[in-house]
Symmetry: D2
Subunit: 469 residues, 4 copies
């Protein structure tokens, strides 16, 4: 059934779905078509396991394998109009495509949510392994490149929006690289930890126990075929914890992207101007102010994060399901793909923007110079303290005020002070250099950047290898 | 641009969009097509106001009026690929359809968000007046009918899931009727309170002040043309409060529907069985348990509420916009139609289910009878107290335990007690009847039901009248 | 029972409770002591209404009135250990202080939540009228003062963090004034709309109907005594909508404060420096960087908003209560005072900071001058368009780029252009002035500021009058 | 500073803090006193590491160790009034208690958040290891006991609130046991994963690099002393991900408790009556209905979950911190202890209730008997299908309707049917037994219960061992 995309309700299905390249990828895992495709796979795995236990013949398996290739979503929906039950509709559609011999074995011993929950776990696991990981790594590669390129680019560190102490821009990027990589690991783990089930209507294997004395072993066979583990306990459904962990991992990745975007937005402020989005020749910044260059991509990421972040609440609520389950997690569960799609849109967007990120090293240096003279307040206080000054912090705080009032450089006041001289005599060369050349006072920003970049590059190889296979 | 609906990501655009009758309605207000349609209306209103102030001719107005009929969403998106700016793209599309004389007056003095915010306020206002109100009233009509029909149907009231004191089922429904009606009023108010703006890029009317000495009067003219009020203050955007009130009203209506659905679900429990969803002849309750009759519609409503309720958080965050605005409310704002659509889906669903609600009066009476004898503990304690018993509550609490232990009816123990006799002698007939006939102990449930139903029917006439015009 | 405050768990009860002046105020409405105090008032009102209907004597009323003066919270808690029921414990405590004649009339015909819900509505209503309104108006007075003082102070308006078009700082403040005032109105309304009830255990007036043929009239009498309206419908409890509206109004006020604080934080950035928090002589900005001056108060407000904003979710959930109620809204409802207290803390904090806000007009002007030459792009495009230029926006966009590339002022390029000259000839003096003197291009910022300030001052008089009485 | 607890604002500090036994435990980790105590430990660890690197003498360490024993919270707060900076206040308080020789080394090279973040990570880690784990295991022990005791207790499994297929009550409990245990593991992991930092004001070790060429090694030394790992990257603060994982784990445990409580509440419904809270002799169920026995403890847990669950939103927002940090995570971070305390209150409460849980096996069996005859629809359909019936599900669905209409037992209709006879002939004895004796149709509920209980008992030994040491 076809429809004009602009008649769709969700921005995910009109505005944000119009980059064709991406949308096809997302749709492969996150559309209703994908739901049915994965459910068919689970029905097939079930028949295969029945065959292994000699309940049906290989011919039945072959028939089902052929049948599910031909199942179309529209057909299932048509059938559902009659049954008012989506999995029974799917089962009927498969049954209609096989011989009478094969018919009884389709879905045998399973309850609907054996199929639904298992298919979703499989779907999100594979989407993570193949799609999310790949996209995130592409973004990470860009960030690693920038971190490396800018590892020596002096930038004033800012806390509370105030100039604090110097760092390098590469160091900032390295921090984001590590945070993203760390979250990728968590996402991957949580996806690997998604569980399937084949324990029947109330989780006690009532039906499968009719055929097997160890129905939990039978469950394992079905799920192993799909590459999944069985939930150690279940009711009609897999307990909600595994899925809410997965959603949490999606949303906490999003937080890193939003934080990054916020930083870049602010670095792009007129008064700061350290970082820029690339602007195309014909691009319009404002419909009324022809001179504007706005950080619209970073703003978009922050905005999308605001949209998807609160949705964790839905899945905390879905942990509660009465007795052996109520169905109040059914509709809500269908919206998880929106969160993953939202995240992917932002990952892809940030990758595009990061490829063309414009780092203005001159402006960074100019901003640094604005307060280069006050920066030394910190090392000054610290070396004074270490040299035994009994009240170094308070002393320096007052010197700073004095410098401000007298319009003198703090460095000069220090050098003129006899009181301080005695303490500073003990400084070694390295310390003295750092103290009076604030551009050297960047700690181990450069080395740390290098180490982090190297470390991540090594660590993500396993994801890359897995993707290539 | 057409696409298979099953490739869509959002359940709103595949699964839940397949009742064609509803979807077309929703789409009229909540799709991207609707966005553009309403933005065109605002651009037209602007040109009309310019004409009133003699900045352009009526011919320009006529041209623009004709042009916007022809604007197609796909065309705007095509143009946006070049401009990277959606409103500039729209403006260009309109300009391309008018004479050189008319071109300059399109969008003159406006900033993008004069158009965007005004169009959204108008869109949600009209969706409320025409679509949401109509749908909610349809549901309300069903509920009013049931309330009236069941106003005398005895039901045991339950608190903490425990039998408490008797009421009537109509009274329960009347409560829901009033709550829904009260929320409808709030929704309507909040929609009427949505504001437009035409105050330019930073809210100070900088551009329009070039032409008019009272640019705020000019703003009023534009918005009056659309039936909107101007925001008393604005920056580049209308302050977020009006919109978050609107979202709050949507979500708090949803809470009433979810509460209702929860109640009906529980009344449909096997052990209670007082209310049922109608089941069609071929409908399947469970893919594995052929005997099941599940409250799937009520469960769906609860589930959708869980999905949409947390989204208020997004719009509380959107109250924050840096200085004269940042764009981080742009993408998120595009998702408001999802909430309204979610709500409509549930309103429509509950209407269908309520039309065929099966109220089992016998089962209600049977359940009542389970505890009819203990119900009198409350009136007993109260009349004893009123008659001067110094410790009536404690006395009755112990009698209840005694009745339980001895397996006697509380009524009988009371009648046999000399101590109590003295207190009960003073009861008048009405009191005595209620005390010993628990089915009469329903307070003013029936009268209250009648009054509420009448009152609501009177009050919603104004909505119905408005809808007919 | 006394306890070291530093052993408390909630920051509201240790860290943020240590400004003694404020805490006593908050505690008067929002502590457990306040809960009991208001519940006593409701019990008294009930007895008074019983007396009016001649069920008991004035002596009983007098006894109860005296008794509740003596009720202590600790005593109620002691009793609750026995009853495991808080309202029954309260009733017992009052009963213990009156004669046997009076005992039976205490709580007569009421259910616990008649007391609890009514007392909470009353408590929040009075807290709004007396405490919240007063505090918010104090803050508003400061903001109005600043708005007036700075109504002509030129400031560059910013959108997307980019310089946009000029405004005045007073205009910015006036916007915040109006938003706060508008929310105050909503808060006041929602508090006035909080309902009481006296409809008994299941909302059908079962018990009171034993004594009165119009028990709903009796309910009105009790509530009128307290200055409250009765909920038009109720179960054991008042429907959750009124309370969630109240919480929404608290949180949406908080959003305005958070938005303001965010703006001020950013205006205090080292590179911007337009606004400052006052720093005391001995105040330390950083434990390691003696030179820092951080916007800690604005940061605190934003942070507290992050803490309290999500809590609306709790009260949306509390709209759902099974049948005639379950108790799952009891504990959660006890936390509403935390939200109000959080808000008050931020209101009080912003008032203190606003009193000493340092507006750096020079820095504002310096920042304005950074981009004064590009600002004219907007009016230029608009007057060109109005003068009939067929493609003014695109033309000016390109001129802007040209100015940037050639390092020339946009104004100069314009003046040198023959093509543009023809269009600009038609400008009148007022337009020409604004076009070439960007500091004049502030729209109606000043007049609007004056109007808003005047209007608010007039409007809040009614609150001030009410507070004085 | 002492205060009447009933003047406190937070229910955590009045109502819910009054079980003295618990509150002292909670307070040890979650009060402001605890904050200062842990910050002192970090300051001490820093000085120890300085001594190891020979920057100061052992005497200095000894002095600081003695000094922090004497630091009192009130004193720190007094000092903060002057400094307006809490960590500088703490440092001053320690400095005041040591010799001039020791003074300079206190806090040397550290920034405030080196102390704050490290102290919080340590505090929550220890609270998890010592308090939360212990409490959760106590609850788990009760649940394991019940699971074991009730492993053969027949109960009707329920889906959608409808009778589905039989299980045992022990199996239900075993499910909850496993879910709680699985979450405990996650909580423990997330607590172990909390990080410290000693990387200075902007995360680049600027200050410590003055003294050490490998300041990251120095950081490790400090943290190892405390049993913590260093954050692999940091700015002024530890990135928010570790903490939001911890909060997520707290809240997702809470979800399991809320789910359990919901189930038990419903099993306690008048019409179901399978499970009961123990009621004390003098306990009052309702202030007006002396006969009520309400599931108030389960309701309380659900209610508290509603209060604390939404608060994850705060910590997702705290992942965003501008540049090298803004302070908008400071106040909000102070509320994490409330979540942990809320959880502990519910854990403790459920333990008390579970100790005295009343399982009514007779009522369970009576409820089972209500629908024992329809239960066999599932096994019937399945064995028919396995035996080759081409349309078993539909066949049985219609038989069910027939049984209902004719008022016959499904079993009897089956036995009378010649058509079905042929299919059923092939059943073996085990299958036949299960098919016609629904009480045997409980799958592997009993064995699974035993396995889960055994497995958990083995697995939690490591926690118990750790607690004993």
């Amino acid at each position: 059934m076809k429809r004009d995309v602009f008649k769709n309700i969700s921005p995910l299905d009109h505005r944000y779905s119009l980059r064709k390249d991406n949308f096809a990828d997302y749709s492969e895992y996150f559309s209703e078509e994908a739901v049915i495709k994965y459910q068919c796979q689970v029905e097939l795995a079930l028949v295969k396991a029945l065959e292994q236990r000699c309940l049906c013949s290989q011919k039945v398996v072959d028939e089902v394998e052929a049948a599910i290739q031909e199942v179309e979503v529209g057909e299932v929906y048509q059938e559902e109009k009659k049954t008012k039950h989506n999995i029974r509709a799917l089962v009927n559609c498969i049954r209609n495509k096989v011989s009478d011999e094969a018919k009884p074995f389709i879905h045998l011993s399973a309850t609907s949510y054996d199929i639904v929950d298992t298919a979703n776990s499989l779907r999100y696991k594979e989407a993570t392994e193949k799609l999310l990981t790949s996209k995130i790594i592409n973004l990470l590669d860009e960030w690693l490149r920038i971190a490396e390129e800018e590892k020596e680019t002096l930038q004033m560190g800012r806390t509370h929006g105030q100039h604090a102490e110097p760092i390098t821009f590469g160091f900032v990027m390295a921090n984001y690289c590590h945070r993203l990589k760390e979250r990728l690991d968590r996402l991957y783990e949580s996806a690997q930890n998604l569980k399937g089930k084949m324990s029947g209507a109330v989780g006690a294997y009532n039906a499968s126990n009719l055929f097997f004395t160890e129905p939990d072993e039978f469950e394992k066979d079905v799920l192993t075929e799909l590459g999944l583990e069985a939930a150690p306990v279940s009711s009609q459904i897999v307990p909600g914890e595994y899925m809410v962990d997965f959603v949490h991992s999606l949303i906490s990745i999003y937080g890193v992207l939003a934080d990054f975007s916020d930083d870049m937005r602010h670095l792009q402020r007129t008064e700061i101007g350290e970082v820029g989005e690339y602007f195309e020749k014909d691009q319009v910044g404002s419909s009324t102010m022809p001179h504007k260059r706005n950080p619209i991509n970073y703003e978009n990421v922050k905005s999308m994060w605001k949209e998807f972040m609160p949705r964790i609440i839905t899945y905390y609520q879905d942990q509660l399901s009465e007795h052996q389950r109520d169905l109040t997690n059914s509709a809500s569960g269908r919206f998880i793909p929106e969160i993953a799609t939202g995240l992917l849109l932002s990952v892809d967007r940030l990758k595009r923007v990061s490829e063309k990120m414009q780092v203005d090293q001159k402006e960074m240096f100019a901003n640094f110079n604005q307060t280069r003279e006050t920066v030394i307040a910190e090392p000054l206080y610290i070396v004074l303290a270490a040299a035994g000054h009994p009240d170094a912090h308070e002393k320096v705080r007052k010197l700073t005020l004095q410098a401000e009032e007298e319009g003198k450089k703090l460095k000069r006041i220090v050098k003129e002070s006899d009181e301080l001289e005695t303490y500073l005599n003990d400084l070694d060369d390295r310390q003295r250099k750092m103290l009076f050349n604030p551009e050297l006072y960047t700690g181990i920003a450069k080395r740390k950047t290098e180490e982090i970049v190297d470390d991540i590059r090594k660590n993500i190889r396993r994801y890359k290898n897995a993707l290539e296979n």
